[in-house]
């Protein structure tokens, strides 16, 4: 009896072996990525220069790019590595105040702006390292509360500093808007900031380090026994995430022209969390889409802050209930639409077992 006949009686054996999809060489996919970035940049740049995207909409676009940077950083920490952080806005504040301080006390040229933003991001990363070493020993909800506390400590601390140095609760201003719609290279700053963030996070996720991060998220004990250095993986993800929070802060400084401690409170951290959750925890493309969607939503709901927050809150609860998929209503709804086939970015439905 030939093997083909024998196997045909057993389900699953007679299906032809699928040819593995052709894998692109790194330089090929890199070139494609570069092309996409250049294309998107050119399209947006032309639309802005010709005035199709007016200053108001350009401002919203800048806000979205800044949110993308911060949210991608948070996604690395919370979505990919599974370390729940509620203090992201605090690290953003570090970047924002550092860059404002640098620009205010130097010439204010492009070099000092870039230097200020970079220094802010680095300082946020360094602080992330310093607080990450002790706090990342905590797990789950304890870590969430500790990072929430850290974010609040940073904010209260800035609020109580000398008026002359960091502006106290009134805020810091007078350094000029360098990343707003009206500034000469504002669009380039936020656009390439977002591109760099995306490329770094994406490549990190695709590397062996990223796989270690995912392993830590899925099961700490199992990954540790497979030789993953838990402390190193968690801290490096945290440092990279907080670095990008600082970068977003530096751009935010130049975007608004005034920074106040209350802009970096717990609510701001929740906004980033909202983007990450809506885009799907651990899904970096989803983060891009969610940031854009929420940016547009905010534009329409600008004068209805309460309704905006009610929608946010409902979305958070409903997404979580759909994700868990045990509420009878949502089970029915899912059957009705069969969206398991759609593979929507915001329905990250990997079965998770604790």
């Amino acid at each position: 009896m030939d093997t083909k006949k024998k196997n045909s009686k057993r389900p699953g054996f007679d299906t032809p072996v699928e040819k593995p999809a052709k894998k692109l060489a790194p330089w090929q996919s890199g070139l494609i990525g570069l092309g996409i970035v250049a294309g998107v940049y050119l399209i947006l740049r032309i639309l802005i220069s010709t005035g199709v995207i007016g200053a108001y909409y350009q401002g919203i676009l800048h806000g979205i790019f800044i949110d993308i940077i911060a949210a991608l950083g948070l996604n690395l920490i919370t979505g990919i590595t599974g370390q729940f952080s509620l203090g992201h806005a605090g690290f953003m504040a570090i970047g924002a105040y550092t860059s404002a301080y640098v620009v205010l006390h130097t010439s204010g040229s492009m070099v000092s702006i870039l230097g200020g933003i970079l220094l802010g991001a680095v300082l946020a990363g360094v602080l992330g390292l310093l607080v990450g070493i002790p706090t990342l020993r905590l797990k789950g909800d304890y870590l969430a509360i500790a990072t929430l506390g850290l974010g609040e400590i940073i904010r209260i601390f800035i609020q109580n500093t000398d008026q002359q140095v960091l502006g106290g609760s009134a805020g810091l201003t007078g350094y000029g808007v360098y990343a707003a719609a009206t500034s000469p290279a504002g669009f380039e700053l936020v656009f390439f900031g977002a591109v760099i963030t995306f490329v770094v996070i994406r490549n990190m996720v695709k590397s062996s380090h990223g796989r270690a991060c995912i392993a830590v998220r899925e099961d700490e004990i199992a990954s540790e026994s497979m030789g993953v250095n838990l402390t190193k993986v968690k801290i490096s993800a945290f440092v990279v995430g907080t670095f990008f929070a600082g970068l977003a802060g530096g751009l935010y400084t130049g975007y608004t022209g005034i920074i106040q401690p209350k802009s970096f409170d717990f609510m701001q951290s929740i906004e980033f969390l909202m983007i990450v959750v809506l885009g799907g925890l651990g899904n970096i493309w989803g983060t891009l889409i969610a940031a854009a969607a929420l940016g547009v939503l905010n534009m329409f709901l600008q004068s209805f802050a309460e309704i905006r927050m009610i929608i946010y809150a409902l979305l958070l609860v409903i997404i979580m209930l759909i994700k868990a998929g045990e509420t009878p209503f949502f089970v029915k709804l899912r059957g009705l639409f069969k969206w398991s086939k759609w593979n929507l970015p915001f329905v990250h439905r990997k079965t998770e077992v604790e």
Binding site: T78, G82, F84, P134, T135, R137, L138, G140, D141, Y142, A144, I145, A146, L148, G149, L150, E152, I153, I156, F157, Q159, N160, I221, F266, I270, L273, V277, L281, E306, I307, M309, I310, Y312, A313, L314, L315, L316, V317, M320, L321, K323, A324, E326, T327, E352, E354
Partner: protein
């Protein structure tokens, strides 16, 4: 600081600490039974304060009756929240439930803001006693006295319920091993609902008293909610005497920080305590150290 001033601050600290302790009890009971930080707990306190306000101002009820109504409304609200938002997620990863809890918290805050507006309101003067007692050179506000008295009564009642009644026994059983409790014929769902009822009722008591002492607004639950959680962690989360001890200690530390002249850093103190406790002794003062099992 003279000795009298010190005693005065001590009294202030114990009274605000009592409110933290009442709210911390809700956190600690819920955490003990389903391992969830109920972020919405502080907002249930806020709802309680508003229900009490409505009863007193609109329906002209006496203070105690208003408190009873607030307790009933919040108790039911707590049970409803658990049923709709937390129960379907009981077997989901903890991060999922935590995000849901944050969502519920924001929902309560902003629905309330849409209903009553964002501005602060104050309970009518004298609704909660506003006399001054002079004892040995100290001036004690009768409100502070009432707060401490109510807290002590609530805690004795809670101890009685948990230690001496059948449902209290069920709560302790579910908290130590839900599966085993289920096998012994205890309805886990009912027990968890009852825990939420009890915790939310205590939050309502705290909310009405806070509302009468300070002013109320839709976001008032956030800070005391966080403080109460810190108090619960400080005392040892899951431990009921720990929550009381943590609440009162936190109140004392805060008033002392203010008295020494760092009032701007009052909120900082709570968070610094939180992080120190988490790093040095994550199980808190009275908590048991539980080892993780594979």
């Amino acid at each position: 600081m003279s000795f009298e001033e010190f005693l005065q601050q001590l009294i202030n600290g114990v009274s605000i600490g009592s409110i933290y302790a009442l709210a911390a009890l809700g956190y600690t009971m819920v955490y003990g039974i389903i391992k969830l930080i109920n972020f919405a707990h502080g907002d249930i306190l806020m709802v309680g304060a508003y229900v009490g306000y409505a009863c007193i101002v609109v329906l002209h009820m006496p203070f105690l009756l208003a408190m009873v109504v607030a307790v009933a409304v919040c108790g039911l609200l707590g049970v409803a929240i658990e049923k709709v938002a937390y129960r379907p997620l009981r077997h989901a990863p903890r991060i999922t439930v935590l995000i849901t809890a944050i969502g519920v918290s924001f929902l309560l805050e902003y629905v309330m803001m849409a209903l009553v507006g964002a501005e602060s309101k104050a309970y009518p003067d004298g609704s909660f006693g506003n006399g001054q007692l002079s004892v040995a050179g100290l001036s004690i506000n009768t409100q502070q006295l009432y707060v401490v008295a109510v807290t002590i009564i609530m805690m004795i009642a809670l101890q009685y319920i948990i230690k001496r009644t059948k449902i209290g026994k069920a709560m302790r059983a579910v908290s130590s091993d839900a599966d085993a409790a289920q096998l012994m014929g205890i309805s886990v769902d009912k027990t968890i609902s009852f825990t939420f009822l009890l915790g939310s009722a205590l939050a309502a008591v705290a909310g009405v008293m806070m509302g009468a002492m300070y002013t109320i607004n839709p976001l008032m639950g956030m800070q005391p909610g966080l403080k109460a959680f810190i108090a619960a962690v400080f005392g040892g989360i899951g431990s009921i005497p720990g929550a009381m001890l943590g609440g009162i200690l936190l109140g004392l530390i805060e008033t002392l920080v203010t008295a020494v002249g760092f009032s701007a850093y009052k909120d900082l103190a709570a968070f610094v305590i939180l992080i120190l406790v988490l790093l040095i002794r994550p199980c808190g003062i009275l908590g048991k150290n539980v080892r993780e099992k594979v």
